[in-house]
Structures are given as C-alpha cells and as structure tokens.
C-alpha cells in the first residue's frame, strides 16, 4: 500500500507536534475559558488524532479511497449513536419530556 517511503524527518516532525499539543492541552485546562474549555480540549484531541491518522497511519499518502470511506463511515456511525441518543436526553426537559 505504501510504495513511497516517508522521510524520517516527517515522522519526527509529527511527533514533536503531538508532544506540543499534549502539553498545550494540559496547560490550557487550567485556564478558565468557560464552556470553551471542553471545545478546545476536543479540538486539540481531534488535531492530534488527525495527525496520527494522516501521517503515522499513512492515510494522507494512500491512493486507496476505500480507506478514507471506512474511516468516515465509522465516525458517521458513531455520530448516529451519539446524536440520536442525545435527541432523547436533550429533549426530555421540553414540554412534558
């Protein structure tokens, strides 16, 4: 699948980025951003996850569209579970609930 060999510099670069993001997310947790603390933490986590998926797992360099379909589908399916469950819990307080 990967005929093309990545440079080790690229891997080290991603590794540094991941470490930096980790330290950032830990430090930012102590700053009061109100409701944005959660959002910032999840955004940083998602950036880290994307770095791992795209570069360490080679998804950026693959010509195989099916791999991307599988990843997107699984995230979509997870969202179905989360969103439709929330549709129940989130609307209980409305009207009679």
């Amino acid at each position: 699948m990967s005929e093309h060999i990545m440079s080790s510099k690229m891997y080290y670069g991603i590794w540094i980025a991941l470490m930096v993001l980790t330290v950032v997310t830990a430090r930012v947790a102590f700053i009061d951003l109100g409701p944005f603390n959660t959002i910032v933490a999840l955004v940083i986590a998602t950036c880290k996850a994307l770095l791992v998926i795209l570069f360490f797992m080679h998804v950026k360099y693959t010509s195989e569209k099916l791999t991307k379909m599988v990843i997107i589908s699984s995230i979509f399916w997870l969202l179905i579970l989360l969103v439709l469950s929330l549709a129940d819990y989130g609307t209980r307080a409305l009207g009679h609930g």
Partner: protein, 544 residues
C-alpha cells in the same frame, strides 16, 4: 460428514480429503459452511424445543405446566438461542460462506483462517450457552433489560452475556471477511453492477454486522462488569439509567433484525428470476435498497422504547424514521412482483418458499408500520401483536428464505437432488403450520394478551390452542427437510451442474464444486440474470 464419492472419478471439495481433522482444520469456505450448517441446525432445534414448551404451557390459561420463573427462562432462552445462535448466523454463515466466493469468481474468502476462527468462536459461544442452559438458565428476556439483569436476576446472566459477546465476534469476523472479499477478490469483469443481488444483500448485511455488533458487545460487557465488578453504570441506586442500557442495546438489536432479513431477501432475489425465466426488474433499485436498509436501519432503534420513558419529541423522530425504513423493503417487494410479471413461472420448492416469503414478509412488514405509529404502539406494545409481527418477519420471512435457499443450492452443495414432491409438501406444511401458529397471535395481541406472561384470562384460550396446534404442524414441516436432505446425500438423484438453468457463476462450475471452486478462473463478460440467454432446463428435475 464424509459422503460416498458421488462420481467415483471426479474430485471435489467433499471427497478431496476424509477424516475429522480435514473438517475441523479446514480453511475451505465450503466445508466451513457445512460446519456451520450442522451447528446452526442443532441450535435451531434447541430453540425450537423451548418454543414447544412455551406453546405447551400456553395451551391452558392457568400456569400449570411450569413455574412462572421457569417460564421466564423458557422465553428468554428461546429468544437468545434463536436470534444469536440460529438467525444471525444462518444464511450468511451457511449460504453466504458457501456462495460468496463462488458467485464472484474467487477461490476462497479473503481470510480463510479467520473464517474457521469465526466458526470456532461460534462453537465456544454455543457451548457456553448450553452450559448456561443446563445449569439453570437465564430469565432476563433476550433483551437483558436492566436493572433486573444487573441487580436482581439470580440466573446465569454473566454466562449468557459472555456467550453472546463471543458469538458477536463470530458475526463480526464473518462480516469483515465478506466485505474484504467482495471489494478485493472479484474475478476480472465482475463489476459491481454485474454482481448477483445475493452479494449486494450480504455486503449490506456485513456492514451492519461490522458497525452494530460492537455496540452490543460493549453493552453486554458493561452488564457483566456491573454484576462482577460492581461498575454500576446502569444501577438506578447509583444514578444509573436503565434507559441508557436500552438505547445501547437497541442500537445493535434493531439493525440486527436487518442482519436476519437482508440475506433472506438476497436469496429470494436469486430464486425469483430463475423460476420466472426473466431478468430481475430494477437491478440497481434492489442493490441500492439493500444498502439503504443497512443505513436507515441504524436510525430507528428507539421505536422499541416508545413506552420506556424516552422524550416524546425523540419518539416522534424515531417514529417518522421507522416509516422511512419501510420504503426500501417495499421497493424490493414491488421489484420481485414486477420480475414475475409476464414471466414463465415454475412452482418449484424454492419458488414456493419465495412466494411464501413475499406474502408473509409483507404482512410482517406492514404490521411493523402499525407498531411505528405511536398511538397504536401504546396499546399493542409488549403484547402478542409484537410477537406475531416479528415472527412473521423472522420465521415467515427469514426462515422461509433460508429454506428456499437451502433447496435452491442443495444440488450445488451436495451434488444431489432432494425429492421435489417432498420438498413441495414440506413447504406447504411449513406455510400452513406457520400461519396457524402466528396469525392468531396478531388477534391475541390486539385483544390485549401481554407477551412473556405464563398465564392468561380464559377468553384467550381458543386462539392460544390454535397457535399451539399450528406450532406442532410447523415443527413437522421443519423436520422433514432435514430428513430428506440427509437421505438425498446417499440416495438422491445425482445433480447436473445447473439443474435449474440458473444464472450465476456458481452454476457454471460442477455440482459439487472443486476445492478451489473453478477448474479455470472465470472471466465475466455478461450481465447478471441473463435469462434471455440461458435456456430453461428441459424439466424441473423430479425425484421419484
């Protein structure tokens, strides 16, 4: 399993090797399919045995045959065994395993050893389930609702939960194998639009198995954790939410019903064009409707929870989505009918089962729409109306499709013909027995008889007696094929490569096929269901 050599000279997958090791260590998808056939048949009769006990108890209004607690165990184990150890594997693990590689022109599935592993996982799970049954059973209902299952039941909840967890892995691995095989192992020229619709159906089924079963796995694991480690996520005394359990449970268990029906629909879609001598009407509509069912099927689960305490607004959303999911199924029914229109119909045994499927599945599906209407559901939920609804689909639909498929492909699998007149006779018995068993249950539910009750008011007795009578007839109808299939393996007429004059790559190889499926790797240059080019057989073979 070893049969007498059919034509003494020719080697095929059954006579290539003999001996128990050659079966238990096989990686040949066809042999694995037969291993599954034996195993699921065994569990079918275990589940059927529980069904007969239930029907016997319900002959009389009083709870006079077993204790109430025992009755709870009977319907629980009937459900668990039938769903997880018969219906979910049935067509995919037997017919799917056998046919998927051959239909696409491959030598085997992508991962033959994982295929064998999936069977061993199934067996381990089955043994655990049997252990659970003989050491006292489970009484939670196949739905494991909390907090009864986590905090109050004194039965083998942990063993049953773990058994089903392991069976779930078997199911996931089968689905994984099929998806990879269908993507990567198609023969040259076998484009997506030339695939048999049986393959499309199994592809859609596999998606559900892959994406839904893990949620059941984690949910049952959390139930086990609660009982073993006191991790009380569903424990109301700790603020745990029993409805959360139901959300997680039904997220899988609703799509699971599509795992059970889609393969059957795939079988019917193969049978009907063959015995109508016509191309399938609306190939792409049927293919895409299978995918649509797989996707929409994940959006409707809370219709099992309308009266559980979910918010009214979410109930409205799920009700609307449940109407939507009926549309692709309806499309299939229209297309099957249109395929038959102006076709040249032969009422062979597989075709009889296909007809039965269409009628009974339609009734089951339409009653599903009644249940999706909130106003009706409030009255008939947890009554025999629901029981009848799902048995019409599971038994009238899925099992009829399974039996039709077994008859249709039996010549290919065994190299022998079953006795056609007996096949027709058994099909009729199944149809009559089925309707007598389950139609009264619609009426019972409508009149208010609750499900999972071991006694009932006197006024319901007549209908219950009819239902029990039907179940004994149905049982006969199920035993007959087992008997004559076994008989045919030694005494049946030797089958041609293509006794039905059917389209599809499996009919271009020998009956039974060689171990690697084809003498020469096929190259496909024709469209699917090219019945305009295939001559009908001189006669539908009759065995006397």
């Amino acid at each position: 399993m070893a049969t007498a050599a059919i034509t003494a000279e020719r080697e095929h997958y059954l006579n290539k090797e003999y001996g128990i090791r050659s079966w238990l260590l096989t990686t040949d998808h066809k042999r694995i399919a037969l291993l599954y056939l034996v195993s699921i048949t065994f569990f079918f009769f275990i589940g059927g045995f529980f069904a007969l006990l239930i029907r016997l108890e319900l002959l009389t209004p009083a709870g006079d045959m077993v204790q109430a607690d025992t009755y709870n165990k009977l319907f629980t184990m009937h459900g668990m065994v039938m769903i997880f150890f018969f219906l979910i594997p049935s067509i995919p693990a037997v017919l799917g395993n056998f046919l998927v590689p051959i239909m696409i022109g491959a030598k085997d599935l992508a991962f033959p050893r994982i295929n064998l592993l999936s069977w061993y996982l199934y067996i381990i799970a089955g043994v655990m389930m049997l252990y659970c049954i003989v050491t006292g059973g489970v009484d939670t209902g196949w739905t494991f609702y909390t907090p009864f299952s986590t905090a109050f039941s004194n039965t083998n909840v942990i063993e049953a939960g773990l058994a089903i967890f392991i069976a779930g892995f078997s199911s996931i691995l089968t689905g994984l194998n099929f998806v990879v095989t269908i993507h990567r192992m198609r023969a040259p020229g076998m484009t997506w639009s030339r695939l048999p619709l049986f393959i499309w159906a199994h592809y859609a089924t596999s998606i559900i198995q892959l994406l839904g079963t893990p949620v059941l796995a984690i949910t049952l694991l959390l139930v086990v954790f609660e009982r073993v480690f006191h991790l009380g996520i569903f424990d109301p005394t700790r603020g745990g939410d029993p409805i959360l359990f139901q959300h997680l449970f039904w997220f899988y268990s609703h799509p699971a019903v599509y795992i059970m029906i889609l393969p059957s629909m795939g079988v019917v879609t193969e049978i009907i064009p063959c015995f109508s001598r016509k191309r399938v009407f609306g190939y792409h509509a049927i293919a895409l409707s299978s995918i649509a069912i797989a996707v929409f099927g994940f959006l409707v689960w809370a219709h099992h929870m309308f009266v559980a305490g979910i918010s009214l607004y979410s109930a409205l959303i799920f009700s609307a989505l449940s109407y939507l999911v009926a549309v692709p199924s309806a499309i299939k029914v229209f297309n099957w009918t249109a395929t038959m229109y102006k076709g040249s119909i032969t009422f062979s045994t597989p075709m009889l089962y296909a007809f039965g499927f269409i009628g009974l599945f339609t009734m089951g599906g339409l009653t599903g729409l009644f249940l999706s209407a909130l106003g009706i559901d409030v009255h008939v939920t947890d009554t025999y109306f629901v029981v009848a609804h799902f048995h019409y689909i599971m038994v009238g639909g899925a099992v009829m499709g399974y039996l039709g498929g077994m008859h249709f492909w039996w010549p290919k699998i065994s190299g022998r013909m079953y006795p056609e007149w007996l096949g027709k006779f058994a099909a009729l018995i199944v149809f009559l027995g089925f309707n007598l068993t389950f139609f009264p249950q619609f009426v019972l539910g409508y009149l208010g008889m609750p499900r999972r009750y071991w006694q009932y008011p006197q006024e319901f007795q007549v209908l219950n007696v009819l239902s029990t009578a039907g179940s004994t007839i149905l049982a006969v109808g199920y035993v007959l094929p087992m008997v004559y299939f076994l008989w045919s393996m030694r005494y049946g007429k030797i089958a041609d490569d293509n006794p039905w004059g059917a389209a599809g790559l499996e009919w271009k190889t020998t009956s039974p096929p060689p171990t690697f499926n084809f003498e020469e790797a096929p190259e496909v240059t024709w469209e699917a269901y090219n019945y305009d080019q295939i001559p009908a057989p001189a006669e539908v073979p009759l065995e006397r």
